[in-house]
């Protein structure tokens, strides 16, 4: 589905991401693990086109590495940024509507669908997004991204700052979207146990490079990797 080769991003003399290569297969959940500053978020932003980058990102047979963020979301990649990035001044429903900006067809059934998935959003549909709790905002951010009907979802630290119960709820939704709709997901997580549970393959990043990769089982079972990178 997406085949990334030698993706790099430099800020002046500092290299945030250095020649990263990885694949996300169709209908797979891929996890990115690693400490702060490992280049996980930068990689996400490089794929969604919000920052200039070099290398190649093959998506459906085209290289999208030089495309703009607008045309990338149009081609079916949606990005839920770290810190959620909801439009605080717009209502919940307006947030969902703007999420479908690139679509020309009717979006009412999609709004209904995400209200059903996240009933709390429907209860608050006329409230400003800025007044929602952190968990509700994360739900809104994910629902808004899904409004564009993506085939690949980039999800940056969805569990950040959320209560464990809400996090579980969100991950259950992601899992079911993956299984029932065939949505591919690239998931950045600091919470390794959570990521290892849902992802089929995991890449371990450190200082802008992939230091290990493998199936979730293999990584979870590797005593040495667990000790060195995942906090036991």
């Amino acid at each position: 589905m997406i085949d990334v080769n030698n993706l790099s991003k430099r800020y002046g003399r500092h290299t945030a991401v250095s020649d990263i290569s990885f694949k996300v297969g169709k209908g797979k959940i891929i996890g990115f693990l690693g400490p702060n500053g490992a280049g996980k978020t930068t990689t996400m932003r490089a794929i969604s086109g919000t920052i200039p980058r070099s290398g190649s990102v093959m998506y459906d047979g085209h290289d999208i590495v030089s495309q703009s963020a607008e045309s990338i979301v149009r081609s079916g990649i949606a990005h839920v940024p770290q810190g959620r990035g909801t439009f605080s001044e717009l209502t919940v429903e307006e947030n969902l509507r703007i999420g479908a900006y690139v679509r020309k067809d009717s979006i009412e059934s999609d709004i209904e669908r995400w209200y059903k998935t996240f009933p709390r959003l429907e209860e608050r549909k006329n409230q400003r997004a800025g007044s929602l709790s952190g968990g509700e905002q994360q739900m809104l951010a994910i629902a808004r991204a899904l409004m564009s009907r993506p085939r690949l979802l980039l999800c940056d630290e969805p569990s950040l700052g959320l209560a464990p119960l809400i996090t579980q709820e969100l991950f259950a939704v992601l899992k079911s979207l993956n299984q029932q709709d065939g949505l591919s997901v690239l998931l950045v997580e600091q919470n390794a146990n959570l990521a290892l549970k849902v992802a089929s393959k995991v890449y371990l990043l450190e200082t802008g490079q992939v230091v290990a990769s493998g199936t979730a089982e293999a990584i979870a079972g590797d005593e040495r990797i667990r000790k060195a990178y995942l906090g036991g």
Binding site: S48, T50, A69, E70, V73, R74, A78, H79, P81, G85, T86, F87, S88, E89, L90, E94, R97, I98, G99, Y101, V102, G130, S131, L132, S133, G134, Q137, R144, A145, S148, G161
Partner: protein, 299 residues
């Protein structure tokens, strides 16, 4: 009572013009976080274009429409070229650029239309001495009523654009969070250029209305109007279109009352300071303006 009503009528019409120009300031501020100091001069320049087209024999109504279109292109073009390239490098630079535009447009207009006594501008509305209705003893001139109606209609259209259309939603999303707007595929460059275009085109209309009321246009046509409009935008809260309209009307009425009821010691000369002092007081008490939003966000 008659006099009070008279000042209120006149004040509402002037206020509506301030509100139009103030709305332009708010539209730009919401989109880019900058005050466009050239807003008034852009309006003045468009007014001269309207006068010129009218002078060439095109009926005034169409001349105004063409002038508004010209304003849209002027505003959008300015954003897409000078403003955008400067804003990327230094936000403070936008301030300098808009001051430069202010001076540049003013000199350019003085160069092209150089008659020092100015030019006679027709009004869009009947403007003979007998063209007024009498309400409770006060005269309400048709040209003032016309200005008020046109301004209110345009504001209504703008509110519909903001709240009911996909483009309006896109504009508000860029104002709220530019980075996320890009992530959902909103072409933010296009949206910002359009905001500047809309602002300048409202300026063109307000210029034509001022010119029509004064009957005379010179390159300094919009100086005091711009000051009142920026006062209205500040007073209403820079990010609130509704606030700009209400504050614009308030300032218009307040100006007429101050000048009319205390002619001896305020009069025409000091009314500008009265407006500014009252705004100063409001902002001391409520820094975000009457209707401006304090950013509230839960994390």
């Amino acid at each position: 009572m008659e006099r009070l009503l008279q000042y209120v009528f006149d004040g509402l019409s002037f206020g509506a013009i301030y509100a139009l120009l103030a709305l332009g300031l708010v539209v730009v501020f919401r989109g880019t976080g900058h005050l466009n100091f050239a807003q008034g001069e852009m309006a003045m320049f468009c007014t001269f274009i309207i006068w010129q087209i009218n002078e060439w024999g095109v009926p005034l109504v169409f001349a105004v429409l063409i002038g508004m279109l010209f304003g849209f292109l002027l505003g959008a073009g300015t954003e897409a070229t000078v403003i955008r390239s400067v804003a990327k490098k230094s936000p403070g630079g936008v301030f300098v650029v808009s001051i430069a535009l202010f001076l540049g447009l003013n000199s350019l207009a003085s160069m092209i239309w150089d008659r020092s006594e100015g030019y006679t501008m027709k009004s869009l509305f009947p403007n003979k001495p007998e063209d007024f209705v009498r309400i409770l003893g006060a005269e309400w001139r048709y040209k003032y009523i016309g200005v008020l109606i046109v301004a209110l209609i345009l504001m209504g259209l703008l509110f519909l654009l903001f709240s009911k259309t996909k483009f309006g939603l896109a504009m508000r999303s860029v104002a709220s969070n530019p980075e996320s707007a890009r992530l959902v595929g909103v072409p933010s460059g296009l949206v910002l250029a359009a905001s500047w275009g809309i602002a300048a085109s409202m300026g063109a209309l307000s210029g034509a209305l001022v010119g029509g009321i004064n009957g005379q246009i010179t390159p300094s046509l919009m100086f005091s109007v711009f000051i009142y409009a920026s006062a209205a935008a500040t007073l209403g809260g820079l990010d609130s279109p509704g606030g700009a309209v209400i504050a614009g009307l308030l300032i218009g009425v307040g100006e007429q009352l101050a000048a009319g009821f205390a002619p001896g010691w305020i009069g025409q000369d000091l009314k500008l300071s009265v407006a500014l002092i009252s705004i100063f007081v409001v902002l001391l008490v409520k820094p975000s303006g009457l209707f401006g939003s304090l950013k509230v966000e839960r994390v």
